[in-house]
Symmetry: C2
Subunit: 228 residues, 2 copies
Amino acid sequence: MSQAPSRRPATPARPATSKPAGPGRPKDLGKRAAILDAAKRLFSTQGYDGVSMDQIAAEAGVSKLTVYSHFGDKEALFVEAVKAHCEARLPPEMFEAADAAPLREGLLQIVRAFYAMITGPEALGVHRLMCSPQLAESPMPRLFWDAGPRRVQEAVATMLQHHVDSGELDIDDVQRAASQLLCLAKGEAHAQQVFGCGGELDADALDSHLRGTVDMFLRAYAVRSKAP
Amino acid sequence: MSQAPSRRPATPARPATSKPAGPGRPKDLGKRAAILDAAKRLFSTQGYDGVSMDQIAAEAGVSKLTVYSHFGDKEALFVEAVKAHCEARLPPEMFEAADAAPLREGLLQIVRAFYAMITGPEALGVHRLMCSPQLAESPMPRLFWDAGPRRVQEAVATMLQHHVDSGELDIDDVQRAASQLLCLAKGEAHAQQVFGCGGELDADALDSHLRGTVDMFLRAYAVRSKAP
DNA sequence: GTCTATATAGCGATAGAC
DNA sequence: GTCTATCGCTATATAGAC
């Protein structure tokens, strides 16, 4: 339950005398990755209770005890799978590019990237996982929140502050404004997709939604050219 | 799985000759209600898999077979519980009152009522239920969406249209604007509460959030007094 | 119609062979 | 380190007594 549950219980203190090099565990890297990948896929589509250790083992092409030897138990495997998912998901430089672009274009880039990031099948699966009542008391939703949504919002707030400093935006609380922009971009479409009703928007509807988002945001916060 | 799973499997075709009146099932109304109530409470707090038929029976004060005799199986009971929950949840007249009030006050009334409606413990529980992967392919999320969020948004759109007609608001697409207002009111706080991290906002933070919501909405859509 | 007791099955986790 | 076979537990659903 702590940090690294994949550490083995008791390495027998081999002082590297009987074997010259690498007697520890030089073999299992591929299988461990396969297990983690299978776990990510199955957990995100079927939930924690919805998938059994047998299914994970079968999907990964190994036996069940191999799973238990690499990860301690089901919960530890789940934690590792979610961690791996979060780490491979944060946008690398999109905010730098958006920062350099003109205001409206930069905002459009941000909401486009954000919407794509949260409506992918895996992202929706993880969102559903975080909603499961079993995790409500665990520290995992908090970890996910800090590793995902919080970072994005901070980056957006920083970008907005730059445009406030340059005199293009009139915003008192950039943190709140960043939150508002992202909530607008999510929109009801995201909620529907999380529930499973109302599938993906087609390209036209998506473009209309995101442009409408940026339009409203700028109507509220853009400094208007002073009346003559 | 279809419409009315609570219908009994085979009524033995008693032609009302041996007994004069009411031999069918005149007794179980109280127990049926108790079972439904217990199911609503437990399902919404612990999820579908998180609660067993034994727990429901114990919570309702009846035996397990009584549950099975009233509802066919676990899934049918679940469907009935969610139906009962949705039917008893829509706000009665709050939009009429908001319609008569001045613009800013009306919007504040709406977002206050909306926020209270979606952040109650039971509402959060149902939201989490709708996210569960097992229901993603079922028609239930769609039913919930049409019975809940969709109606609220329609009512808000109607209210906004009135203020557009009276010249107070400048909105092209009132449906989109209604959706935007509600998404803003939900905010990130709702998402955090659904996940289970970051509990309820205190009174001050809540007031600040909702006033900020209405402020931004009006900055974007209120007709501004023409410059002199 | 309702309850106590039980059948059946699936899951998580483990023991022992290679 | 990996696999096959198995234990222990829990949950859904049912059979028989009052």
